[in-house]
């Protein structure tokens, strides 16, 4: 990223040079179906800047070795690079200790880790776990599995017509039986930003722990796990310019220490005999086996990329894109926006009267425009709105207003053809 990417304005806020940012993402130069790629599927996964791609290549050409063992130079350098990312993540979410950062494959594995370790240890018959009506399947299914096993009860905070959580209903659900609340920070299907601070405080008042699914929020919002006071926070690298297959679970140190191990194998042990195995300390007791070293090494430049741009600046640009896209889409005939929460981040989801989302997706793809169509792995939420799915455009900092115009134009033509 060049220094010209960010220009200081008189007021002290920063205006991003989007053209310069676009040049950092090689994939944005490619054509799709003969058209310049318009990538509006950022909530599914973000594209990767050259710094991340270069780090992957650098790792395999210069550093490749297994971590935490060997005494040779490569092993030491690989370990240093691998562990440096843990410090970057700690700082990124303002965790108090580096050992509170557990490496995972992504948000889904982070949630499963908590369900299978903390959940199995702490949930008992009649206990309650609260999730919300706008959860991704990955924050529903692990709780269904562990609740069924433990005869615990899964409760759901309902969603209102605007796509916001009904907090009065949450108050009613909370009780002394509530052991854990697990909610999404930003909805992948609608972009709703949930008031997680309030949700956490209310749960703590009842003695329940709280897990925040940060898959969508990490890229767009400032995350301070100490200020939020959440007990767990899960994120994925690939949704924040980093590689796939890498993510992190934050947990408060004393809670993680009391939790049983997740997977057994190498790295997570201290001493193994056939009679008994003692486990390694945090964070390694949760990191069995050779990790996804290269992708964790390349996660660090992704975090640095976000830090360099500044989340407030990123958010400002994304908000401008979302506002403009919402206006343009509303101009079209027979549009219904799904998710009109007061607080939204970077996601525009909608349905069109008399037109199937899949048809729109195919015709937009034919113009090089990538959107997501379907239920977005949130089927209960789709049922809430009585729809099979939506068309979802999700924005990132490298998107432009001109691209939004292309989307609006593509939609107009597709609707004309399909109706």
């Amino acid at each position: 990223m060049s220094n010209e990417t960010i220009a200081e304005t008189a007021a002290g806020t920063k205006v991003l040079d989007i053209e310069a940012i676009r040049n950092d993402f090689p994939i944005l130069n490619r054509l799709v179906k003969g058209h310049p790629l318009v990538y509006f599927d950022n909530a599914a996964t973000s594209q990767k800047p050259a710094a991340v791609i270069d780090a992957l290549v650098y790792y395999y050409t210069q550093l490749n070795a297994n971590v935490h063992r060997g005494i040779h130079t490569l092993a030491e350098e690989a370990t240093a690079a691998f562990e440096a990312t843990r410090d970057a993540i700690r700082q990124f979410i303002n965790a108090a200790h580096r050992e509170e950062i557990i490496y995972t494959k992504g948000t889904t594995e982070g949630i499963n880790l908590v369900a299978y370790t903390w959940g199995r240890q702490n949930l008992q018959e009649g206990d309650e776990v609260i999730i919300s009506g706008m959860e991704h399947h990955s924050n529903i299914v692990p709780w269904q599995i562990v609740c069924e096993e433990k005869k615990a009860v899964l409760k759901v905070i309902p969603v209102n017509e605007k796509g916001e959580l009904i907090l009065d209903a949450y108050d009613q659900l909370l009780s002394e039986r509530t052991k854990l609340v697990s909610v999404v920070h930003v909805s992948n299907a609608m972009g709703t930003i949930n008031p997680v601070k309030t949700i956490i405080d209310k749960a703590h008042a009842k003695g329940a722990l709280v897990l925040i699914d940060g898959a969508q929020s990490s890229m767009h919002l400032d995350i301070d796990v100490q200020d939020l006071d959440c007990d767990f926070f899960a994120l994925s690298a690939h949704k924040m310019f980093g590689p796939t297959g890498a993510g992190a679970l934050y947990g408060k140190k004393h809670i993680l220490e009391a939790m049983p191990v997740f997977n057994g194998g190498g790295e997570m042990i201290k001493e193994v005999t056939f009679e008994k195995t003692t486990y390694n300390e945090l964070p390694y007791k949760f990191e069995a086996g050779t990790p996804n070293i290269a992708d964790f090494v390349a996660f660090k430049p992704a975090i640095e990329y976000i830090n360099n741009l500044g989340k407030a600046n990123i958010r400002k640009h994304e908000d401008a894109l979302l506002t403009y896209a919402t206006e343009k889409v509303k101009e079209l005939d027979g549009i219904r926006i799904i998710g009109e929460a007061a607080e939204k981040a970077s996601v525009l989801s909608f349905v069109i009267d008399g037109v199937h989302p899949q048809d729109i997706g195919i015709l937009l793809d034919n113009k090089g425009i990538a959107v997501r169509t379907g239920h977005h792995c949130a089927e209960p939420l789709m049922n809430r709105f009585c729809i099979p799915g939506t068309i979802r455009a999700s924005f990132a900092v490298y998107n432009t207003l001109e691209e939004v115009d292309k989307l609006a134009d593509g939609l107009k033509k597709a609707i004309r053809l399909l109706r």
């Binding site: 179906k33 037109v355 199937h356 899949q358 048809d359 195919i362 015709l363 793809d365 034919n366 169509t373 379907g374 099979p388 053809l417 399909l418």
Partner: protein, 146 residues
């Protein structure tokens, strides 16, 4: 029966028709048009057991066996899929189970559909063909059972 076209002849006709289009815009316009013209399936057939698994949109498919030939009827809630169904029915419907089971359906590749559609969607197309062949196989075994 002399005028009855073979599956290969119908496939060739469709490939010829598609060769007239310069762009995918035109191809889609044609497919959408076919979709809009597809005879709607009677509501009574739109139930779970007639759904084709593996499609992103909902597809209902039913088959009938008349005078040794399989007659297909199908519908979808998505127009482009309906257009694709319309072509599959045009190719396979009103043929004997053996003819249907032996059809290579290469026209789908020849008109560029497999390479143009995203993997998940061409999987749906394959699922439809597979289901149509299943029906043919069922009718064939029925014939020998009697």
């Amino acid at each position: 029966m002399a005028a009855h076209k073979s599956i290969e002849e119908i496939e060739e006709e469709i490939v010829d028709e598609f060769s007239l289009f310069d762009s995918w815009d035109d191809k889609y316009e044609y497919i959408i048009d076919l979709g809009k013209k597809l005879q709607p399936l009677d509501e009574v057939f739109k139930k779970d057991e007639n759904k084709v698994k593996g499609c992103q949109s909902t597809v209902w498919l039913v088959a009938d066996y008349q005078d040794g030939r399989v007659i297909y009827k199908a519908e979808s809630d998505a127009v482009i899929v309906k257009g694709l169904i319309s072509m599959l029915i045009r190719v396979l419907s009103n043929h004997t189970p053996d003819e249907i089971l032996n059809a290579d359906m290469d026209f789908i590749n020849k008109i560029g559909m497999t390479s143009h559609l995203a993997q998940t969607r061409s999987n749906g197309l394959r699922a439809m063909v597979k289901q149509m062949k299943h029906y043919a196989l069922a009718f064939k075994s029925l014939k020998f059972d009697v």
